[in-house]
Symmetry: C2
Subunit: 324 residues, 2 copies
C-alpha cells in the first residue's frame, strides 16, 4: 500500500514541526509495512513570498490528488500588512477540499493532570472529542453594515447538519458510544432544527449511541465541572469555535493538540492547533506533540489504526517519562 | 431617606432566600440609618397559581414604582406543561423595565479557592465582572424556519452598544480601571461595529480606562488560563451568556453569585443567579449567599455603598470562618 501525503510546512515553526511529522510517518510506515510518497509545497506566507499568493493552483492540485494533507502552521507579522494574507490560503484550501467537520480531541494524560488549569482530581480521565461544523452558520452568513447598524445571519440546512452529525455519531461509535449535541434550542431557530435533525438521525441510524443534548452555556459550565463526563460533542460552527478553544485549555498546553478537518471524500486536512509562533521559530523550542497527535489522526483517517496506535503509545510513554 | 423595594419571592427556594435578603436589608438599613418600605408580590409560578399569569399588571405597576426589585427565583416542574410559563414573567418584566445590561460578578475569595474547579494558585485573586448586553443580538433577532432550513439574525445598532458599554466603562472606573471588550471582529460585522463603537467611546469619554479587545474564543481560553487578569468584561448577548456561565464556575458554586439587570432609569432588578431548585425547597438547605450578594449589588445601585460594604465584609468574614 502506498499513500500520497502532501506536506504544507507553512510559516514560523511550521517547517520544523512538519519535519518531525514526516519523520514519524516514515518511521511507522517502515514498522507497519506501508509506503508513503511525500509532496512538499509552499503554503501561506512562504507561498506569498515565493509566488505572490498563499495557495497556488499547483499546490491545490497536488493537495487534491493526495490521500491526506499535513499542515504545519501559517501566518506571522511579516505578512500582517500584505495584500495577500496567509490565513486566506487556509480558508481557500478548506473550501476547495470541501471539508465541513473539524475534529478536535482534548485528552488529559494522567501524568500531565498537574499541568491542567483545572484541579487534577477533576480533570483526570478527560478525553473529549469536539466535532465542529466548519462551513456554515453565522461565520459564513450574509452581513450588512451601515454607519449605525450591523447584522450577521446564521443559517443551517438539514443537509449541513446531517453530514457533520454523521461524522460525530461514527466517531462516538469508535470511542465510548456517547454523543452530546450542543445547541441553544430554547432560543434559536437554527438550534431547534439542529436538535430535530440530530435526534432523528440518532433514533434512525445510531440507536446504539447514547445521545444527549445540552445548551451551549450549560456546556461551557459543564466543561469545567465534569470534563471527564464528555465523550464526543457535536455542535455548530461558532459554538464549536468557543467550546473547542475552552476545551483546548484542559490538557495544560495547546502545544499537545491536533485537529482533523474532514469532508465527504479524501483528502482530509491534519494540523496541530497551535499557531506559527514566529517568535520561537528556528530555535528548536517548538513542542512537536501537537504535530505528532495530528499525524495519529491522519493515519486513523487512512484506516492505519495500528500505526496510529503506535504513535499514541509512544506519546503516552513520553508523557509518563515526564517529557512533553 | 426611604427606599421602596419590591420583593418577588417567586418559586422553589425563592421565598426562603428572599426572606434572608429582606432580613439583611432591614439590618443594614437600621445600621446605616435609612428606611425601606417593602412590597411583596407573587411572581412566576406562584403568580400563575394565584392569578393565572406569571406577571400581573398590578405587580408590574408596583415594580415600576419602586427604587429597586429583588427577585428570588422562578420556575419548576409544576408549570413545565402549563400554557403560561413562569420564565415568561421574567422576560416580560425585563422588557417592561427596559433593563439592557446584565452585571454578573464572579469573585473568588481566598478562603474558597480550594472549592474552585481551577487550581487554587491559578484562580486566586479572580474578581471579574461580566457586563452582558441583554436585549439585542441573535437571541432577539428575526427567525425563519422551513422543513429543511432555519435561520436567526443577529443585529446591533450603535445606540444599543453605546448604552451597555457606558455602564461597563463606569463599572470599570469604580473598580480597577480595566475593560476588556469581547467580540468576534475578525469574522462578524456586528462585532466590527461593536469594536468601533467601544473604541470610540473609550477614546472620547473614558481615556482613563485601560481598554483592550479580545475574540470570544480567546476569552473562553483566557478565563481558564489567567482568570485573575480580568477586571470588567463587556460583550454582546450570546457571548455574554456563554462567558458569564463559564465564569460562574470559577468560585466553585453558583450559589454564591448574584446578578444585576440595569437600564437607563430605576428600578434595577437584582437576583441570585441560581435557579428555583424545587427539589430542596422548604428544607432550609438553599445557599443564601447568592441572594445576599445580590442585595449588596442592589444597595450599590442605590448609592448606599457603606451598607453594601458592610454586607461584603460580612460575606468575607463568613467565608474566612469556613461558612458558605
Ligand atoms: Mg477559535
Ligand atoms: Mg446562560
Amino acid at each position: 500500500m502506498t499513500y500520497r501525503i502532501t506536506l504544507l510546512p507553512g510559516d514560523g515553526i511550521g517547517p520544523e514541526i512538519t519535519a518531525v511529522a514526516r519523520a514519524v510517518l516514515e518511521h511507522v510506515a517502515a514498522l507497519e509495512g506501508f509506503r508513503i510518497e511525500f509532496a512538499t509545497c509552499a503554503f501561506g506566507g512562504a507561498s506569498i513570498d515565493e509566488f505572490g499568493e498563499p495557495l497556488t493552483e499547483a499546490t491545490l492540485k497536488t493537495c487534491q490528488a493526495s490521500d491526506a494533507i499535513f499542515l504545519g502552521a501559517v501566518g506571522g507579522p511579516k505578512w500582517d500588512r500584505a495584500d495577500a494574507r496567509p490565513e486566506a490560503g487556509l480558508l481557500a484550501l478548506r473550501k476547495a477540499l470541501g471539508v465541513y467537520a473539524n475534529l478536535r480531541p482534548a485528552a488529559v494524560h494522567p501524568a500531565l493532570a498537574g499541568k491542567s488549569p483545572l484541579r487534577p482530581d477533576l480533570v483526570a480521565g478527560t478525553d473529549v472529542l469536539i466535532v465542529r461544523e466548519l462551513t456554515g452558520g453565522i461565520y459564513f452568513g450574509t452581513r450588512e453594515r451601515s454607519a449605525d447598524s450591523a447584522s450577521d445571519k446564521c443559517t443551517y440546512s438539514r443537509g449541513e447538519i446531517e453530514r457533520v452529525a454523521r461524522i460525530a455519531f461514527e466517531q462516538a461509535r469508535l470511542r465510548r458510544g456517547k454523543l452530546t449535541s450542543v445547541d441553544k434550542a430554547n432560543v434559536l431557530e437554527t438550534s431547534r432544527l439542529w436538535r430535530d435533525v440530530v435526534t432523528e438521525m440518532g433514533a434512525r441510524d445510531f440507536p446504539d449511541i447514547e445521545l444527549d443534548h445540552m445548551y451551549v452555556d450549560a456546556a461551557a459550565m459543564h466543561m469545567l465541572r465534569a470534563p471527564a463526563s464528555f465523550d464526543v460533542i457535536v455542535t455548530e460552527n461558532m459554538f464549536g469555535d468557543i467550546l473547542s478553544d475552552e476545551a483546548s485549555m484542559l490538557p495544560g498546553s495547546i502545544g499537545l493538540l491536533g485537529s482533523a478537518s474532514l469532508g465527504e471524500n479524501k483528502p482530509g486536512l491534519f494540523e496541530p492547533i497551535h499557531g506559527s509562533a514566529p517568535d520561537i521559530a528556528g530555535q528548536d523550542k517548538a513542542n512537536p506533540f501537537g504535530a505528532i497527535e495530528a499525524v495519529a489522526q491522519l493515519l486513523e483517517s487512512l484506516g492505519e489504526t495500528a500505526a496510529a496506535g503506535r504513535i499514541r503509545d509512544a506519546i503516552n510513554t513520553m508523557h509518563e517519562a515526564g517529557e512533553w
